[in-house]
């Protein structure tokens, strides 16, 4: 609007000055001075006009100058000669400028320029996988976004899952929307549905567009690879906050006394996974498949093969310290009974497990609490340490079993900001609380896949992995002794009263070595 007003004012003041001066009428000088004010308004309008700089400099400005000079020359003739001729040509020139040219300019803006909120990307060519990038409105949660996606029958994932310090940027609010192939033409309509619901601040077609990063966003620190060649290691944000480099430096110079066995008591484990197979020890072939994927994910966190050029890595640089095994106690829906879990613990202990990793749980039932305590005692007598997830209901884990069972190390989840994960149960009232990363954790998934999952389920195998290494170094280590070392060496985190302190594997192993 300012641009149009400026142009008309420049034109009007120039023509008015010429007219008044030619007929020697009053106010000619006053109108002449107003030309310069009009020119300033025009230049400001042009500067703020929504168009690319090149379009402004080489298309809009030259055309405006041409129209201005043509009209001025014609008006000069008008003042002295034919008025009809001037009127006709002036009308044509102004029509060209305000209708044809402005329409052309709009077309340029819509098709060649990059804007953030664009709703008119009719000519973009979309990526086959992840057609839209959206910027989630911070008033909505990830869960609400996922729910809305489900409603629209599209899938959604974090656009930049490997952000280690999201507090430094807003990139963690960006998600990729995958639209089914047959509906890919409807992407604009789908994007508008997100906007109408208020869920997103902006959307972008995922190919031609570039993210409009906040100008003040600092350069992100690249997540280190810890000298490992596994491609997804830089995605393991927890490695840095747990300072695993210290652990790796220690493990290179330690000779373990045994290979400790970590039992994943869960939905089964896909033992043939490319990033698990070399570290997997089967105790029953029936347990070595995983229809859900949860057990396989946990197994990868606990003992994925490191430095094999595939997938992720675990705390174990090689297979001299730990191996992982599977005991299936949950069905294909991820559910089971407390009786099944207790039987699974017994089986794992009897088959020689050193660490029992329980990424499962349910409400504490009086009828089973005693049985849980007995089986944990049994495990302890056999030299096994039981570690269990705190639960995901954002409640007090004191009412949640087996995390609340005496003798069990209970694990809460922290997010990438090292705050309590929004879903994590609180473990502050339990005997042996500890925290580990549990949000957006990349790990192994059936069919040689890798996925990001969240939950105290993901935090638990990190602790199990550390306990496994400690048991390999000192096989007689008890749960109480191990917990004391974990607790003494752990790092303070903002919500430690609710989550316990964050494990620091290198420091825990160093303390164990000093203690021997």
């Amino acid at each position: 609007m300012l641009y149009t007003i400026g142009f008309l004012a420049v034109l009007g003041s120039a023509l008015g000055w010429l007219f008044l001066k030619t007929y020697q009428l009053p106010f000619a000088n006053w109108i002449g001075r107003s030309f310069w004010i009009s020119l300033l308004i025009y230049l400001l309008g042009l500067y703020f006009e929504e168009a690319a700089l090149l379009v402004k400099l080489f298309l809009m400005l030259p055309l405006d100058v041409a129209v201005f000079i043509s009209l001025l020359l014609l008006f000069n003739r008008y003042v002295t000669k034919s008025k009809i001729w001037f009127t006709v040509v002036a009308a044509i020139l102004l029509a060209v400028k305000f209708f044809f040219f402005d329409l052309a300019s709009d077309w340029f803006k819509q098709n060649l320029s990059t804007t953030k909120d664009g709703n008119t990307w009719s000519s973009v060519s979309l990526a086959d996988d992840g057609e839209l990038l959206i910027d989630l409105n911070t008033q909505f949660s990830q869960q609400e976004l996922f729910a809305f996606c489900k409603k629209l029958d599209v899938s959604c994932r974090l656009a930049f899952p490997n952000i280690a310090r999201p507090e430094n940027t807003s990139l963690d609010e960006f998600y990729v929307i995958d639209i089914p192939q047959k509906r890919s033409k409807d992407w604009e309509k789908i994007a508008k549905e997100f906007q109408s619901a208020g869920l997103i601040d902006a959307f972008e077609a995922n190919e031609l567009m570039q993210l409009d990063l906040p100008a003040a966003a600092p350069t992100r620190k690249t997540q280190p690879d810890f000298g490992l060649n596994d491609p997804y290691v830089p995605q393991l944000w927890g490695f840095e906050v747990m300072q695993v480099q210290e652990l790796f430096d220690l493990l290179r110079n330690i000779q373990p006394r045994k290979v400790a066995t970590i039992a994943i008591v869960d939905t089964g484990v896909e033992s043939k996974h490319e990033d698990l197979q070399a570290n997997f020890h089967s105790i029953n072939a029936d347990y070595d498949t995983d229809p859900v994927g949860h057990g396989t994910h946990c197994a990868g966190i606990a003992a994925a093969v490191s430095n094999n050029g595939k997938g992720i890595a675990s705390f174990s640089l090689n297979n001299r310290f730990v191996r992982v095994t599977s005991v299936r106690v949950l069905n294909r829906f991820g559910g089971g009974t407390q009786k099944d879990v207790i039987n699974g613990i017994i089986e794992a202990v009897d088959k020689g497990a050193d660490v029992i990793s329980l990424s499962l749980g349910g409400p504490s039932l009086d009828s089973y609490q005693q049985a849980y305590e007995e089986v944990v005692k049994y495990a302890s007598q056999k030299g096994a340490i039981v570690v269990a997830a705190a639960g995901n209901a954002d409640e007090d884990a004191a009412t949640f079993a087996p995390a609340n069972v005496k003798g069990v190390i209970a694990v809460a989840a922290v997010d990438e900001n090292l705050r309590k994960a929004s879903f994590s149960n609180r473990v502050g009232s339990l005997d042996m609380p500890i925290a580990a990363p549990g949000v957006n954790i990349c790990s192994t998934f059936p069919n040689n896949e890798y996925r990001f999952l969240s939950g105290t389920s993901m935090a638990t195998p990190y602790v199990a992995a550390l306990l496994g290494i400690m048991k390999a170094i000192r096989p007689t280590l008890t749960a109480a002794q191990a917990y004391q070392l974990l607790q003494q060496t752990a790092a303070d985190v903002p919500d430690a009263q609710q989550t316990g302190r964050l494990i620091q594997p290198g420091k825990a192993v160093a303390a164990l070595l000093a203690w021997q």
Binding site: Q142, Q143, E144, F146, A147, F148, K150, K151, D266, T267, V292, G293, H294, V329, L330, N331, F333, G334, G335, G336, T337, Q338, D340, V341, S359, L360, G361, G362, P363, L365, A389, G391, N392, A393, F400, F423, N425, L453, S454, G455, T456, S457
Partner: protein, 74 residues
């Protein structure tokens, strides 16, 4: 038994749909009908509480939906 509350999706573990009832109690649907898979939907459902109280989700009591009534659209 009858559960009255709002439907919620939880991206925990492999993800699931649940109900938070008017007392704030959580119920995890093991067989959520597609009509109920809408965030914030206000519903009343006849449910059967399952014996399989242990799960990878660790959120609420698992229930099978026997019948339901939508009280308010999202």
């Amino acid at each position: 038994m009858t559960v009255t509350g709002r439907v919620t999706y939880q991206a925990i573990a492999t993800g699931f749909w649940g109900i938070v009832d008017e007392q704030g109690k959580k119920w995890r649907m093991v067989n959520p009908p597609s009509a109920l898979c809408k965030e914030g939907l206000h519903i009343s459902a006849e449910v059967r509480v399952l014996e399989e109280v242990v799960s990878i989700f660790m959120w609420g009591l698992p229930v099978e939906i026997l019948s339901f009534r939508i009280l308010e659209k999202y």
